[in-house]
């Protein structure tokens, strides 16, 4: 894998993202608005809404980065890039975007909610960011267009936020680990031992799936090979 290629893709997407000020602003403002509107809710829902807000912002950004490069990616491959370098460049960009998002959401929640277990909250938001990056890129590789991608994003995160961690099948969802930690951060008596390992597995599986889907999406046969 060429570091130069990975960096070039990250720089190109960073430029494009910075020029989509309104869209990026909305991706950050919407989860904050959800969080603000949940302020009067009972129990851990407020903390979960705020903690998973990073997932809306980063999964949405990953989705649009993936879709934006659809047309260009095969041409980049023809000019010497590998599909994995393009996706790695997109991940690098999103990781850079994830850091300030993590800082903003964690700071707001720590100050406004004063959780019972602050460390659980910090780890939950960090894991949420790390899971959201490959999830967004996976949706960007799999979905046909922006409408399908947006509906899938709403579907995955909507079900995740409305399904309690104690419900059957909750473990099958990608943000189960952060949800458990957010419950604990609120003060719910819950076993958190599985949260980090579950999240690591989710990150690994989503990353592998994102690379597989992307390679399938931008596959270019090397017609010069058999010459």
């Amino acid at each position: 894998m060429s570091a130069k290629h990975v960096l070039a893709v990250a720089v190109a997407h960073r430029r494009e993202l910075l020029r989509r000020r309104f869209a990026v602003g909305m991706l950050i403002a919407l989860p904050l608005a959800f969080y603000a509107s949940a302020a009067s809710a009972e129990g851990s829902f407020v903390l979960i809404t705020g903690g998973l807000g990073v997932a809306w912002a980063l999964t949405g950004t990953g989705l649009f980065v993936g879709l934006a490069s659809r047309r260009l990616a095969p041409r980049l491959v023809l000019s010497g890039y590998r599909p994995n370098e393009i996706l790695a460049g997109q991940m690098l960009l999103l990781a850079g975007f994830a850091l300030p998002m993590f800082a903003v959401f964690t700071s707001i929640l720590l100050v406004a909610e004063q959780p019972a277990h602050s460390l659980d909250l910090v780890v939950a938001v960090l894991l949420t960011a790390l899971i959201a990056v490959p999830l967004g890129l996976l949706l960007g590789s799999l979905c046909r267009g922006e409408l399908e991608g947006t509906l899938s994003l709403i579907g995955v995160l909507g079900v995740q936020m409305s399904l309690p961690v104690s419900a059957a099948g909750a473990e099958a969802l990608p943000f189960y680990g952060p949800m458990v930690l957010l419950e604990s951060a609120y003060g719910t008596q819950i076993d958190t031992a599985v949260a980090v390992p579950h999240s690591i597995v989710a990150i690994g599986l989503l990353t592998a799936a994102a690379f597989a889907a992307w390679n399938r999406r931008v596959r270019v046969a090397d017609v010069t090979q058999s010459a």
Binding site: K4, A8, V9, V11, A12, R15, E16, R19, R20, A68, S69, R71, L72, P74, R75, L76, L78, S79, G80, R219, V220, A221, D222, V223, T224, S226, A227
Partner: protein
């Protein structure tokens, strides 16, 4: 006789179970320019996509003996990057040669860094689209109706360039609807309803 740079051998591509290209065989040699014509749906764009490796043929094969440059019908560009930023992304260490290619295509110099792709006129975007296919000094050029949106002067310049690329020893394949330009190429390949 010059070396065959693009060898399409009994190529079959099906869409929805129906063959769009059926056992098509074409050879394009170094220093040769061909035009591919045919009605809508005859498989012209499909042929170029298969030659670029973007489509997996159902049977047969494509072999290229030089780097392939592909210019799709729809400009494959990032809307919020300038032409200079595209050159940086594609050209890597050779952005100057990219700027020279844009200049040769008549791309306005002020727009190279000054406008984003989405702010360019259709014809100017198309020039960027063509330039990106040329950056790797490709020996095989696959151009899918690359002149869309060109004004008359640019259109004539484009065909002059096709002649130059041929004289440089490249194999040039141009998909076109315009039979008037058939005199500017060495051969015309007509694709039927199922070629």
């Amino acid at each position: 006789m010059n070396e065959v740079l693009l060898d399409v051998d009994r190529l079959t591509v099906k869409r929805g179970g129906r063959p769009v290209l059926d056992e098509l065989t074409i050879q394009v040699r170094a220093g040769e320019a061909i035009a591919v014509i045919g009605e809508n749906g005859a498989g012209k764009s499909t042929l170029l996509q298969a030659c670029a490796g973007l489509l997996r043929p159902d049977s047969g094969q494509v072999r290229a003996r030089a780097a392939v440059g592909y210019c799709p019908q729809e400009p494959g560009v990032m809307e919020l990057l300038s032409a200079a930023e595209h050159l940086e992304l594609f050209g890597g260490s050779a952005p100057r040669s990219g700027a020279r290619i844009l200049g040769r295509l008549g791309f306005p110099r002020a727009d190279v860094a000054g406008k984003l792709a989405r702010e360019l006129s259709g014809g100017t975007r198309q020039k960027l689209n063509v330039a990106l296919a040329l950056l790797d000094d490709a020996g095989v050029l696959l151009l899918d109706e690359p002149y869309q949106g060109f004004d008359n002067g640019t259109y004539l310049d484009f065909w002059e360039l096709v002649g130059e690329w041929r004289d440089e020893g490249r194999a040039v394949v141009v998909v076109t609807h315009l039979l008037a330009e058939s005199g500017r190429v060495d051969r015309v390949v007509e694709l039927g309803a199922c070629s």
